[in-house]
């Protein structure tokens, strides 16, 4: 490396020409390690250019945030995580798993044993080379009794992880899982150096495109380009500054006055005004995120499917979409699989508001006199209370009585959700059918927020998970969506779009709907024009 450093110095002092520098580094076989920042004009015409400082204003940041991958709970630390770290697998904008730190992978025909080949020569920011040991450590951080990770549930199926040599990792699962690579694309499962613990997580040592320089939870993070970044065609900014701006008006003003050049969660009530602002682009992306209204089906009267069907029919989804989301979304069909998911069932009939039918089913259940308590707080999603009140009015047309119970935002997820019989809720969605159904609809899943238990559905879930034939899986998932729509305890009134705004000086490729903020990877994927 010393000869490269010497060449760099000569080049920077203009003692050798750019061409000579390139020739000599190429002769050393070192080109891959040279920062593209040295050659501002070297990007292809029209392609990404490097340079500049991306300044983002993001929601959700809190002074209690941590960079421990087990507890990445806000937009701010999830985004920062992928500025500075990588996963084994990346999920691209088509919802396909593509190699990241893993170069390739293969499984046994029963999808039970998965072998991942790692990329060689990738260095962490502290100079350590990434090996199988780091991968095993990073994944095990989310497993076992002592783990407090949000990804613990996904990894239950793993029976054993072991390193096979320095650059191969073998996962043995308790049952077949065709979508296993997707799981490794989950934002919690980023790869950190083996042995990281306690306050060391906050240093943010990873293999990512940017090196963390400073990080103050709930305030600001600052990262600079990783000169050793291994991924080609990614990580174009010189610096990335991430600001926690909780207040929507403050974010909007900061974007308008040029103090930031990217913001998430645009206020839908004023988005039409924002679109008229000069120099600002608004992007709306449909992803897997959706609003739900789960009922606990093991409690009366929600244990009667007539009641559930009646309530599903009484809700006017189009009106909710228009009023609550100002049209920035799509109506839902009472199952959690989004139109962007691979096996979305196009043939399933869309459920629409039908007061007569709703009344018919409610009468059949003998519950027309019952008053249904619908619990709501804006902690579930922005506009949840308004939505609940609208549903109350819509149900009146079918003669169904709903009482909206306003709960405090504080502690909503621990005191109301999964505890009250019927409440407003939000799901970010999952990139695969299996993950979504397993996490919230399978019998016994910890976040099965309706306590729903459908035998046929649960059988199909296990069968589809191990099925490597795509057509057969597609059929099974189609049937599961139908069962879910007709029998489950969840109303899925709509999918919400992720609406974000940026300076028109920024350029980008296709925006991913996998997570908000271009799959939380805008710092790596975007560039300045």
């Amino acid at each position: 490396m010393s000869s490269l450093a010497a060449l760099l110095e000569l080049f920077e002092q203009k003692k050798i020409s750019r061409r000579e520098f390139l020739n000599r580094t190429a002769a050393l076989g070192l080109m891959a390690t040279v920062s593209p920042a040295l050659f501002p004009g070297s990007a292809e015409a029209g392609g990404p250019k490097s340079g500049g400082r991306l300044i983002m204003g993001l929601t959700g940041g809190s002074t209690t945030d941590s960079m421990n991958p087990a507890t990445l709970t806000s937009n701010m630390n999830q985004n920062l995580n992928w500025q500075i770290r990588n996963n084994l697998v990346e999920i691209d904008h088509n919802f396909d798993p593509i190699p990241e730190l893993a170069e390739s992978w293969e499984s046994t025909p029963d999808a039970k044993v998965w072998r991942f080949k790692l990329r060689k020569g990738v260095e962490f920011h502290n100079g350590k080379t990434m090996t199988a040991e780091d991968v095993v450590y990073s994944i095990n951080h989310h497993r076992g009794e002592k783990s407090k990770s949000g990804a613990k549930g996904y990894l239950k199926a793993i029976e054993n992880i072991k390193a096979d040599g320095q650059y191969e990792v073998v996962f043995t699962l308790s049952g077949g899982s065709a979508d296993f690579p997707f799981i490794l694309g989950d934002y919690h499962l980023s790869i950190c150096p083996a042995g990281t613990q306690g306050q060391e997580w906050e240093k943010g040592i990873g293999t990512g495109a940017y090196v963390l320089e400073s990080w103050e939870p709930g305030v600001r993070a600052f990262a600079t380009r990783n000169p050793n970044y291994w991924k080609e065609g990614r990580g174009h900014f010189d610096e990335v500054e991430t600001l926690s701006i909780v207040d929507t008006n403050a974010r909007t003003n900061a974007l308008k006055t040029g103090q930031i050049n990217y913001m998430d969660r645009v206020e839908l009530k004023t988005v039409h005004l924002m679109k008229r602002m000069p120099g600002v682009n608004v992007t709306a992306t449909t992803g897997t995120a959706h609003y739900t209204i789960p009922m606990l089906v093991d409690r009366s009267p929600y244990n009667d499917n007539n009641v559930r069907t009646a309530l599903k029919l009484a809700i006017d989804r189009e009106e909710l979409l228009k009023q609550v989301l100002r049209g920035y979304g799509e109506i839902g069909n009472d199952h959690p699989i989004a139109p962007v998911n691979r096996y979305f069932n196009d043939d399933l009939e869309q459920r629409r508001s039908d007061p007569d039918q709703a009344k018919f089913y409610m009468k059949k259940a003998g519950m027309l006199d019952h008053t249904f308590n619908l619990h709501a707080a804006d902690a579930a999603f922005a506009g949840a209370v308004d939505a609940a009140v609208m549903i109350q009015e819509q149900a009146k047309k079918a003669g169904i009585k709903i009482n909206v119970v306003r709960d405090p935002d504080d502690g909503y997820w621990s005191n109301v959700w999964m505890k009250k019989e019927w409440c407003m809720c939000y799901w970010g969605g999952r990139p695969t059918e299996d993950m979504m159904f397993s996490v919230a609809y399978a019998n016994g899943a910890p976040w099965n927020d309706t306590n729903w238990n459908n035998k046929r559905f649960n059988e199909l879930l296990v069968a589809a998970r191990a099925e490597l034939d795509s057509t057969k899986r597609g059929k099974m998932y189609a049937e599961m969506q139908e069962i879910c729509r007709n029998d489950s305890g969840t109303v899925v009134p709509m999918y919400n779009q992720m609406v974000e705004a940026s300076s028109d000086k920024l350029a980008h490729g296709s925006i991913s709907g996998h997570m908000a903020v271009d799959g939380m990877r805008n710092a790596e994927r975007w560039w300045f024009k």
Binding site: S62, T63, T64, D65, S66, N68, T71, T73, E145, K146, S147, K148, S149, G150, K152, G153, G198, Q199, E202, E216, P217, G218, V219, R220, L243, S244, I245, V246, D247, N249, A250, N253, A254, K256, T257, Q259, D410, G411, W413, S414, N415, W417, Y426, P446, W447
Partner: protein, 319 residues
């Protein structure tokens, strides 16, 4: 002078007891809130297993009095402990934020206090005239609006339309004093609008009260000019109540500005306290709460001391 020292000594001892009691009240208060740090940090993604693991890691499974005792013991050694949510030392979390809070409060006070006193004197001088009523109406209108409303108006005007001040008051260590003052001018103006009316009205009322005294009448009879009467005779004698109101407002500037912090994205102590209460991060809540309590106690003590010093009768008398 002996009186003053005696007061300071007595009050300091009483303050220690007050702070101790406050720490117990804060602890019980946070304990009474539903949920704990494990549940609130994990939020929607909490499962019984992960919550349990989290609790054991943080020793939250111990009974409350044991945890309070451990905290008190550490505190007596000068250790504020570490945040439950992200393991950072509380002193590190609070130190620079408290400095930021004091800086903003100081800036606001530098503008608001002289402004309020001058306006109050003018209002007393021109009392019951159109001018007096104008001052009252304007300052009272400002205090009647919610803080964030004034903040948004100022931002819309000075940041978005005129583009002369930044809409976000982000400051950091590398900035010079001038740059910092420039950055916090809009939030400081917002706070000025909020606190001026109270102090101005008190100054006006106190001066008018003194103006009815016999010795003022004597001065008038002797032909002293009215402005001179107010500046040299009435105002010094009305300082005591004014000082108390100023102290209350200064305390408010230190502890009550979280809304302004959020609107201007200013990293102060208020946001830290709100976030930690929301996450039930007891050590951080305790430390911030105690700092706020100390600020109140200190400012009130200062007000009493100053009232004594400006009043010769209190200064001299033996208790």
């Amino acid at each position: 002078m002996k009186n003053v020292l005696l007061l300071v000594g007595k009050r300091s001892l009483a303050s220690l007891v007050t702070i101790f009691v406050i720490s117990i009240i804060i602890f019980i208060g946070v304990e009474l809130l539903p949920g704990d740090v494990a549940e609130t940090v994990l939020g929607q993604s909490a499962t019984p297993e992960t919550v349990q693991a989290f609790r054991q890691e943080l020793k939250l499974d111990l009974p409350p009095h044991v945890r309070y005792g451990a905290w008190l013991k550490d505190l007596s050694h000068g250790d504020f402990g570490t945040s439950l949510a992200n393991g950072r030392p509380v002193a590190e979390l609070i130190g620079w934020r408290f400095a930021n809070t004091l800086f903003l409060a100081g800036m606001a006070a530098l503008i608001a206090v002289p402004l309020a006193i001058v306006l109050g004197m003018l209002a007393a001088f021109y009392r019951n005239t159109f001018f007096d009523k104008c001052i009252s109406i304007v300052t009272l209108s400002f205090i009647s609006f919610p803080e964030f409303f004034i903040a948004y108006i100022l931002i819309a005007l000075f940041a978005v339309q005129l583009n002369i001040f930044p809409s976000m008051a982000t400051i950091n260590e590398s900035m010079g004093l001038g740059a910092k003052i420039y950055a916090v001018l809009l939030p400081a103006l917002t706070l000025t609008c909020v606190v001026t009316a109270h102090m101005m009205r008190q100054t006006r009322a106190a001066i008018i009260n003194v103006l009815s005294k016999a010795y003022i009448e004597m001065a008038e009879v002797k032909g002293v000019r009215r402005l001179r009467i107010i500046m040299l005779h009435a105002f010094p004698n009305s300082l005591s109540p004014v000082i108390n109101v100023i102290a209350l407002n200064l305390a408010y500037l230190v502890v009550g500005v979280v809304v302004v912090e959020v609107v201007f994205v200013y990293p102060g102590l208020g946001q830290l306290l709100v976030d930690s209460v929301a996450k039930r991060d007891i050590p951080v809540v305790q430390a911030s709460g105690l700092i706020f309590a100390s600020a109140y106690i200190f400012l009130n003590l200062m007000a009493d001391v100053l009232s004594m010093l400006v009043n010769p009768r209190l200064r001299q008398s033996q208790q």
